[in-house]
């Protein structure tokens, strides 16, 4: 642990840290464009030059490893002058089209111009001009004039997905970022290059020119796309999600998200017309939410004499699952509980998981504690086909978004043979088609709640949108049923968390109050909990296999 001095402050820093890391770890800002924590060092932008005693010339902070007794200055006259020089060079050929640039407001070039630049320019020649809109791939557009050739985007493609679609072409001031013939930028993580581009050179066609970033409110959320549960921000304006960006969380997704997650909100928006609406009773005589809820409650209260099954969902939140489990273990006591799988593709060892549900582990933990565990759906399918199910109470597969193209957990044939089905879902599926009583739930982004990812990380999401159609948060629908069926009312969603901690040992230590603000928290001893849920230890193995970053 060498001791160094930065700007007169003596600091002891970890062995092998670079000057830039040491400074940042101690709250000392050193400007940087090309350096990114998650990528290799390129050292090309030259804005992080600092003075180091005994060094013959200024050194770049990002590639200089500290040594014992090093005396560094990051704010001297000389250093500030160097930064002014680099800023001037960077703006020589820059188009300065901030007024129409998507990056404006969150642009490093703007910020450093303000902090380290000069308000005057000495450049009076003709600027270099180049393509302003070049498709690098289906999700990314390139503006040559804004690009500062930091190569972050190139390094990202080489180092994270490992696909290496991007390269630097031509030379000198004509250098450009491009793709190789026949190989567009098209990998499952391609959208991240837009986030890490320090300027407005890379843009998303879906967000381009749609809003100034300062009008967007970033609502912290969790991606519903798979059991990774990436931490994200939903950029919201006028009750619409304009973009989804990763929220740095070293315990879950680091700085990245996959493209499927990035375009999740678009998928929901584009298929908005197909959404389920309203509450539907078993006959035309049942009109409106109250009547349908009354009818459903009546059906559920007759459950004792009948053969009942409950279908939970790994896509429902902890709170929703808890309330469903309360129903299953109370008014529906004796009912067998099932939890379907929604799997597609393979785990890719980066972020993407084949388990396309955000809360499987959470659902398993709760159902284990409250209902003695949940079974797979194969047996339920069988029982349905054999006509052994009088009543099925189900949370649907479409709670977090459209399910088109996905294999349905239960076949239409089997569902048709159920006595009665009470279903809660947001997007249509075989289940909602077959339901005798059906409630339209709000979808992902419209309700709040907690989820536990495949590795035991508990995270909360806030509701970002006010539901527009005729639907209600699934929790509210379940609470209405619960209220009609039990002596005491269901707790408010925000209060459920504490009950969950009381019921589920693995969650006893979760500090729910701090959760939304933090990066989430690990379920305690979740390894043991996972083992308990899955005697095969498959999840434990998945966790052990980890991911490659």
């Amino acid at each position: 642990m060498p001791t160094i001095t930065i700007n007169g402050r003596e600091l002891t820093v970890p062995d092998g840290s670079t000057v830039l890391q040491a400074a940042h770890a101690n709250g000392i800002d050193i400007p940087h464009f090309c350096y990114h924590e998650g990528l290799s060092v390129a050292g090309n932008c030259r804005i992080c030059l600092v003075e180091i005693e005994k060094f013959p010339k200024p050194a770049i902070a990002c590639n200089t490893v500290v040594s014992e007794g090093m005396v560094i200055s990051t704010e001297s006259e000389k250093v500030q002058d160097l930064r002014r020089g680099v800023m001037e060079f960077l703006l020589v050929n820059h188009p300065l089209d901030c007024p129409i640039c998507d990056q404006a407001g969150e642009c490093t070039l703007q910020q450093y111009s303000y902090q380290h630049g000069s308000s005057l320019t000495r450049f009076e020649e003709e600027k270099e001009h180049g393509p302003k809109r070049r498709e690098l791939g289906p999700h990314v557009l390139y503006d040559w004039e804004r690009c500062i050739k930091c190569t972050r985007c190139i390094r990202f493609c080489e180092e994270l997905p490992g696909t290496g679609e991007l390269g630097l072409f031509l030379r000198g001031v004509r250098s450009e970022i491009g793709t190789f013939p026949g190989r567009p930028l098209d990998n499952p993580y391609s959208g991240n290059v837009v986030d890490i581009c320090p300027v407005g050179a890379l843009t998303l066609p879906e967000f381009r020119f749609r809003s100034r970033v300062w009008f967007l409110t970033d609502v912290p959320s969790v991606c519903a796309g798979c059991s990774r549960g990436c931490s994200i921000n939903l950029g919201v304006l006028r009750n619409e999600i304009y973009r989804i960006t990763p929220r740095t969380n070293h315990a879950v997704n680091r700085w990245w998200i996959c493209d499927e997650g990035r375009f999740w909100a678009r998928k929901i928006r584009e298929q908005g017309e197909t959404r389920l609406q309203g509450a539907r009773g078993s006959s035309d005589q049942v009109v409106g939410w109250s009547a349908a809820l009354d009818e459903a409650a009546a059906v559920l209260s007759s459950a004792k004499k009948r053969r009942v099954r409950v279908l939970a969902s790994p896509r429902a939140t902890l709170e929703e699952t808890w309330l469903l489990a309360k129903l299953a273990s109370g008014p529906l006591e004796g009912a067998k509980v099932h939890l379907p799988r929604h799997e597609r593709g393979e785990d890719d060892e980066i972020l993407i998981r084949k388990d396309k549900a955000a809360n499987r582990l959470g659902a398993e933990l709760i159902l284990e504690s409250l209902c003695g565990g949940a079974q797979d759906v194969a047996e339920l399918e069988e029982a349905l086909l054999n006509g052994e199910v009088d009543l099925l109470v189900a949370l649907g597969p479409g709670l977090a978004g459209p399910v088109d193209g996905e294999k349905a957990p239960l076949s239409a044939k089997a569902l048709a043979r159920a006595g009665q089905i009470v279903a809660i879902d947001a997007f249509p599926s075989a289940l909602s088609e077959a339901a005798s009583i059906r409630f339209a739930a709000s979808s992902w982004g419209e309700s709040s709640g907690s989820v536990i990812n495949f590795a035991g990380r508990v995270q909360q999401m806030e509701s970002a949108l006010t539901p527009q159609g005729d639907h209600r948060p699934a929790y509210m629908i379940l609470a209405e049923l619960y209220d009609r069926l039990s002596a005491e009312p269901a707790p408010a969603p925000a209060m459920v968390a504490r009950s969950i901690s009381g019921d589920v040992a693995a969650l006893a230590g979760i500090n729910w109050v701090d959760l939304p603000a933090s990066a989430g928290q690990d379920a305690e001893g979740f390894d043991a909990a996972v083992q308990a849920c899955r005697p095969t230890g498959a999840a434990a193995k998945m966790i052990a296999a980890g991911w490659k970053l």
């Binding site: 060092v41 390129a42 050292g43 090309n44 932008c45 030259r46 804005i47 030059l49 010339k57 200024p58 590639n63 160097l82 020089g85 680099v86 001037e88 060079f89 960077l90 020589v92 050929n93 000495r122 450049f123 009076e124 020649e125 003709e126 270099e128 500062i148 050739k149 190569t151 390269g167 630097l168 031509l170 030379r171 000198g172 001031v173 004509r174 250098s175």
Partner: protein, 426 residues
């Protein structure tokens, strides 16, 4: 002086192995194989041989950075830098075309001393004829047992690969050359790590200029003292190839002892000024990137690393460019700046943006559009490019600007004031 590098280039077919061997080429390799490797390196140090590629780094010292026990997993490599692209520099070409076996011998001696298992020769793409000569020469040497497996029965294997570049000046920078050799884009790498730690393919690598390596056989055969006896002093030893161009009667490549006075080179070796009635105006003593010297600074100037540096310029690649009084210094500088703007790889902000900016300002002045403040701007911009980038190309672009503007200020001011050249105005 006895010629060492070019002793038989004027005979018939000097590039063939028969002729080369008849002139003693490969005797040095034979002598060195079997010698203690560390003693060999020590003798190179003792010879005082400094790198001929431009920076003048002591050759033996560089060799001593290499590991003494390379593993098969991380073999050591030698690279010969034959990218020769600095404007004014055409000295290596003589060796490449006329004396390839001397170079191959030097490369094999160096490879042997550094325990290399492969040597690479990177030749600039435009040197087509030289490349063909080399391809043939390497095959001849391989057949004769000087290259390849079990060299001269010693049990030591070392191949030699000739690789043609694709015409980029930046690929002469040692680490860009390695990237290019590996099949990538030739961009200079960040240092550290240095090539001796992690160079070509991440393995320990030493890179030397053509002329540097061609000096080694003589040192082996005649001893470091004989080599050090040539030259001006013990820090500036050995024979040197001078590539002289510009306003002299007989431009060309000349092998002369290190430290020959500049005026002697111009007057005696090159037959004096091209037009005897035109006076000497300026000399660029070491390739286009080094600071220019005014005529009066050229007097009593021994051409070697230290003497030229003391005079405020650099010996560089010993490419001597001679300009008489008819030369328009503004246009010369604008042309030089065009070269560096064109050749910047574009990684570093100051170089990518600064080199074309310098060129644009200079071209504007040369077109008659100079403005007050341009000279201060040029100087300040150049100062900001020096020492702030990954490789020295930005310095190479900046140094001529600073020196031209400083030393020929009146010509630049005239242009700015009158919109035309002082020189053509007579």
């Amino acid at each position: 002086m006895e010629k060492i590098l070019t002793s038989f280039i004027d005979v018939e077919a000097p590039h063939t192995i028969e002729v080369a061997r008849a002139h003693g080429v490969y005797d040095g390799l034979k002598k060195s194989i079997g010698m203690d490797r560390d003693e060999l390196i020590a003798s190179f140090k003792a010879s005082g041989l400094r790198g001929r590629g431009g920076a003048g780094f002591p050759c033996g010292v560089k060799m001593s950075f290499m590991p003494k026990d390379p593993s098969p997993q991380r073999p050591s490599y030698l690279i010969c830098n034959a990218d020769e692209s600095e404007p004014g520099t055409f000295k290596d070409r003589v060796i490449l075309e006329k004396n390839p076996h001397l170079l191959i011998e030097g490369m094999m001696i160096s490879s042997y001393a550094m325990r290399c298992s492969c040597a690479f020769l990177y030749i600039r793409g435009e040197y087509g004829h030289a490349a063909r000569v080399l391809f043939e020469a390497v095959e001849e040497a391989r057949k004769a047992g000087f290259v390849g497996k079990n060299i001269l029965g010693s049990g030591w294997d070392c191949d030699l690969v000739v690789h043609r570049g694709a015409a980029a000046y930046i690929c002469g920078e040692e680490t860009a050359l390695m990237d290019s050799l590996e099949g990538g884009r030739g961009n200079p790498r960040l240092k550290p790590p240095f090539p001796a730690q992690a160079g070509l393919y991440g393995c320990p690598t030493t890179i030397n200029n053509v002329e540097t390596l061609s000096c080694l056989p003589y040192i082996v055969e005649h001893g470091p003292e004989a080599f050090a006896a040539i030259g001006r002093n013990e820090r500036n030893t050995g024979p040197k190839l001078f590539a002289v161009s510009g306003h002299v009667k007989t431009p060309g490549v000349f092998e002369l002892p290190m430290g020959i006075p500049l005026m002697e080179l111009i007057e005696d070796v090159c037959g004096g000024m091209l037009r005897p009635d035109k006076k000497l105006k300026a000399v660029i003593p070491g390739g286009s990137s080094v600071p220019v010297l005014r005529a009066e600074e050229c007097q009593d100037l021994p051409l070697d690393f230290d003497a030229v540096a003391e005079r405020g310029s650099m010996f560089g690649s010993a490419a001597v460019m001679v300009m008489d009084e008819t030369t328009d210094m503004v246009k010369v500088l604008a042309r030089i700046s065009h070269f560096y703007a064109h050749e910047s790889c574009g990684q570093c902000t100051p170089c990518r943006e600064g080199t074309p900016w310098l060129e644009k300002v200079l071209q504007r002045i040369a077109r008659g559009g100079g403005r007050e403040g341009d000279l201060a701007l040029l100087d300040d911009m150049a100062a900001r490019m020096m020492g702030t980038t990954i490789c020295p190309l930005a310095d190479a672009a900046a140094m001529p600007v600073r020196s031209f503007v400083e030393k020929f200020r009146e010509e630049f001011e005239y242009y700015i004031k009158h919109g035309r050249s002082m020189v053509s105005a007579g």
